[in-house]
Symmetry: C2
Subunit: 431 residues, 2 copies
């Protein structure tokens, strides 16, 4: 298979999928859900082969856990598809309707982006989820999964593709890349692939971002902060900080650095350190922090440059700052523009923080772990973006659509307006 030729053909076929009705696409999704359920033994058999190979290669237990595709993961995947069917169609929405002049009407309508490349490490459930999101939003997709679950992916892909064709969607709408060198070929398809969505480790996402001219939606790191101001409800802050650190430490929205106002450090740090220690969280801190906690907790000393570290683990960095200005500066300098929070009871201080911190999510008095499409009520999550263009923060289905302008006239020429014979009146029309 030549990915560049296939991607070009897919690009030319993309308008056919975009032209299908929401009903047709939902029908295809329901057929996928049924087919996955009916063929589960075949899926599990393929996954068992993948698991045996991975085990014999000595892969880590944490990775094996992600490769495993069992009854629970299958029913979650199927439930996800059924929920997706219930969501409104993100395409065909009128976003603007304006009469430019008598008989000349402009409409802006949401449409699918076109061709989306999805590259993911391990996790066969990601294949099912992303293929479903693309079908729901009328986008063609090229899927490339990790080699560790090649057998599972192949079975899943074939089930999905057969259902889609049976449902009457264009046969070109889905493509699976199976060979490793096809990743590089896919990354070079900037003329035909409109968007890349990588799913995997920070290193993996960063590699994708660094090696393609195709726009990438995603985040390579999540270095989230909580700043505790001197005027804060300190009792309330501790359980929130613990939640943000330990509720799911491997998540991109888990907190990595705690900034504490110097005025309250003496009283607050020991309590915070005890809570961390009680929850098996290792503490790293500046010299000052080590001094305050010297007889209270084990603290590893750290330098300024270490603050740009994402642990994804039960480890936390602590630093003291003079005020909210210094906190915001530190976050903008060392953070990853993902999600950052302030604890304060002063509106003026939280307003300053939320204005000045340049992140997708700026929070006050709550856990950074809320940064998530489902928690925001988007119904489906395409991913979390730390880029600023197109979509930022948790991205729902609207991240998979763009728009086009339709203009309908009646023999209108620009010359008439340039010469002054006619003029625009730009009347917005209700829709």
């Amino acid at each position: 298979m030549n990915i560049q030729i296939e991607a070009h053909n897919m690009k030319l076929a993309a308008p056919k999928l975009a032209a299908t009705s929401a009903d047709d696409r939902n029908k295809a999704l329901l057929m996928i859900a049924d087919a996955l359920s009916k063929n589960k033994e075949e899926i599990f058999a393929a996954n068992n082969e993948d698991m045996e190979a991975a085990t014999s290669e000595g892969l880590a237990q944490s990775i094996l856990k992600r490769l495993k595709f069992n009854d629970q993961k299958l029913s979650d995947a199927i439930a996800g598809i059924r929920q997706l069917v219930e969501l409104p169609d993100p395409t065909g929405k009128v976003l603007l309707k304006r009469e430019l002049d008598e008989g000349l009407v402009l409409t802006r309508v949401s449409v699918p982006i076109g061709v989306i490349g999805v590259i993911f490490e391990a996790r066969p459930d990601a294949l099912v989820q992303i293929a479903s999101l693309c079908i729901k939003s009328g986008n063609c997709a090229i899927l490339k999964g990790g080699k560790e679950t090649a057998r599972t992916n192949k079975v899943l892909f074939n089930i999905i593709k057969e259902s889609v064709i049976e449902a009457g969607l264009p046969k070109e709408c889905l493509l699976q890349a199976e060979l490793h060198n096809e990743i590089d070929e896919l990354l070079a398809c900037d003329q035909d692939v409109d968007l890349l969505i990588p799913r995997g480790s920070n290193k993996f996402v960063r590699h994708i971002m660094d090696n393609t001219k195709i726009p990438v939606m995603g985040h390579s790191s999540g270095i989230c902060h909580i700043y505790v101001d001197d005027k804060a409800d300190l009792e309330a802050a501790i359980p929130v900080i613990i939640d943000a650190k330990i509720q799911y430490p491997a998540a991109c929205n888990a907190v990595e650095t705690i900034l504490v106002n110097r005025k309250i450090a003496g009283g607050f740090l020991p309590k915070l350190a005890k809570a961390f220690t009680d929850n098996s969280v290792k503490i790293r801190g500046t010299g000052e922090v080590c001094d305050i906690l010297s007889n209270i907790a084990d603290v590893e000393i750290m330098g300024e440059d270490d603050f740009a570290t994402e642990y994804n683990d039960l480890i936390v960095s602590i630093k003291l700052v003079d005020n909210v200005q210094e906190a915001a500066d530190h976050i903008n300098r060392f953070g990853s523009h993902h999600t950052d929070c302030i604890f304060t009871t002063e509106d003026k201080v939280s307003d300053y923080f939320m204005q000045m911190v340049d992140s997708a999510g700026v929070y006050c008095n709550c856990s950074t772990r809320f940064a998530d499409g489902y928690r925001y009520g988007f119904g489906a999550e395409v991913g979390i973006s730390t880029g600023k263009l197109h979509a930022r923060g948790p991205v729902g289905l609207e991240g998979l659509v763009t728009y086009k302008y339709k203009l309908i006239g009646n023999g209108h020429t620009v010359g008439d307006y340039a010469s002054g014979r006619k003029s625009f009146h730009h009347k917005d029309i209700d829709f």
Copy 2:
């Protein structure tokens, strides 16, 4: 000057500009307008030096015309700034307000993108326009103009920067790059520059797009089509086609290729060819087209691959097709996804065309030259984008903003929702 260090400092200062009020930014714009007017002799003197150097270097008359910055161009630039002041602030708009649960409120607010790099060939008026658009939208800007108007650009930049500082905006918000090698340095600033806007020839824009990892907003080519269906008001079609070709042939939205339904070619092509010839437009066409027009007009024969050509001149390509399907396929294959039009009286046919043609603008019965921010009523035009992400087609001030999510809670933890002790109710709040 080291552009990478400057860009990094600008990135850290960007939240300061973003935090200024719309009134402050409008005040700065008015001060720029006044200062440009007051210092016009200095501007014209610098421009005269640039013009003399350019003339002695033997630059083409068409380029000299674009380098010239005279009274007319200055008053246009000043009028543009005053119009910009009247437009609503694109930042600070609430886009979504939702109570996730009791006391936990999510708001999505529009904010400036941050740091925008602008690289343009010639045209000193572009410097004034883009600097003003960035200030209006609260974005920091790094400006790099062409070397042919280096003296004019320097004077203009200094006037603008002094006015901005006098108006109280942060001094870091504008930066001028003057050396040619600084373009490459700027293109490498993908960690600190959020968006690049190139203004210039197709080749220039393509070069920028091919040599940076920073997102680029713009278009490298405009290969626009008009398809004339067999059921069309043919009398009305001819003046529109002529308008689309000759009203401003160098524009990206001028038509390059006419597709004609084979059924009407015999009667329609001679009339169309006469109109083109009367307006000094050279015709290129396929063998079939040449045959029909052999005794009527001079037609240069062309091959299939030539259809991906943007002439930007009084030259047009003509091809026959069997139906709207073939027309749409041709456009998706050879076009540049900019603006394409159908002439037809059949709604079913125009619906098909507007659905299937994968372009930023899909038109019916009017000139492709309407693809323009001012004509669409956007009040200001940042550019025209043929990319699909973030902004597509003519882009107004909204193309220079992104959004951030603000979440305000009261000690909320995710653990409470994961354990089922609490649940989200996702109530949208009016705003």
